[in-house]
Symmetry: C2
Subunit: 173 residues, 2 copies
């Protein structure tokens, strides 16, 4: 029985998120075959009524100057785990309401900032950045090998993590 | 007469594009007062039927892997010169058609890559990048103090510059 539950747990952890395509060429081929809906939106379905930033530079600037924490969602269109989390995120009224208090960014391409991949570049992966521009490495999901991954069933944990992120770090004066 | 025409020329050059706000705080205040239309689009009105990339990282990746040149338009919502150029760009059928042959990115926030501001960070400013990831410093508009600026009346020059950008640089094999 012990061995069996270990196996289930292991499956859960490997199956819940998508690795990025290792071969850039392969990824490009996939993406050009699936044409985007036009016009494309910044929300990409994560909340059409929310205000989304376009780039990491913009998001950092707005977070710093508005004193709102930044929430960065890394995802991929071709990743079913990303799609499932997006659906849960977009349909959860309290999450959508609370999201208004954040500077929001969703990305399908990784930035060059390694601080945004403390334990790898998997998707879906949600990171919170304090307005002091500190990555909140302490705000994690429930999976030990992919700390910033969430499943759709983790939406309440994500909600409470958003509440945690809104309690800003004390910044030095 | 000589002095008078010099003055007019000078006025033309200073009036045709917008400097970026020097005080980031001021800019932020302005932008938060004007709420964006929801959902926001990646095209931002520069061509809703075109496929736009979201970030500079994505644009570089796609340019390199598709062997299409990259066209980057820097602009600002509160800059009337940007708005006027956008209107000319969006309404010009040949320009819109030719734009399909490019990887496209429009940005309201500057990237950290200084290669994208060879003579400053004014807007509107249009740069072409070869798929070899070389900035085409040779593809310029008609103003000597803001080489990558275009006025709406320069739309034909912009069109011929787009044709020039499509003749790719010879890359080393």
């Amino acid at each position: 029985a012990m061995e069996k539950s270990y196996v289930s747990m292991f499956l859960l952890l490997v199956a819940m998120s998508c690795a990025l395509a290792k071969d850039a060429g392969t990824k490009e081929t996939k993406e050009t075959t699936a044409k985007p809906k036009l016009p494309q939106t910044l929300s990409r379905g994560w909340g059409d009524q929310l205000i989304w930033t376009q780039t990491y530079e913009e998001a950092l600037f707005r977070s710093k100057h508005s004193n709102k924490p930044l929430m960065i969602i890394h995802h991929l269109d071709e990743c079913p785990h990303s799609q499932a989390l997006k659906k849960a995120f977009a349909e959860h009224k309290e999450v959508q309401k609370l999201a208004e208090k954040f500077i929001l960014l969703n990305l399908v391409y990784e930035t060059t900032d390694k601080n945004l991949s403390p334990d790898g570049q998997y998707v879906p992966r949600i990171l919170f950045i304090d307005p002091s521009l500190t990555v909140r490495a302490d705000i994690t999901g429930r999976y030990s090998n992919r700390l910033y991954a969430y499943e759709p069933t983790d939406i309440s944990l994500l909600y409470s993590n958003m509440q945690k992120a809104l309690k800003l770090l004390k910044t030095e004066l």
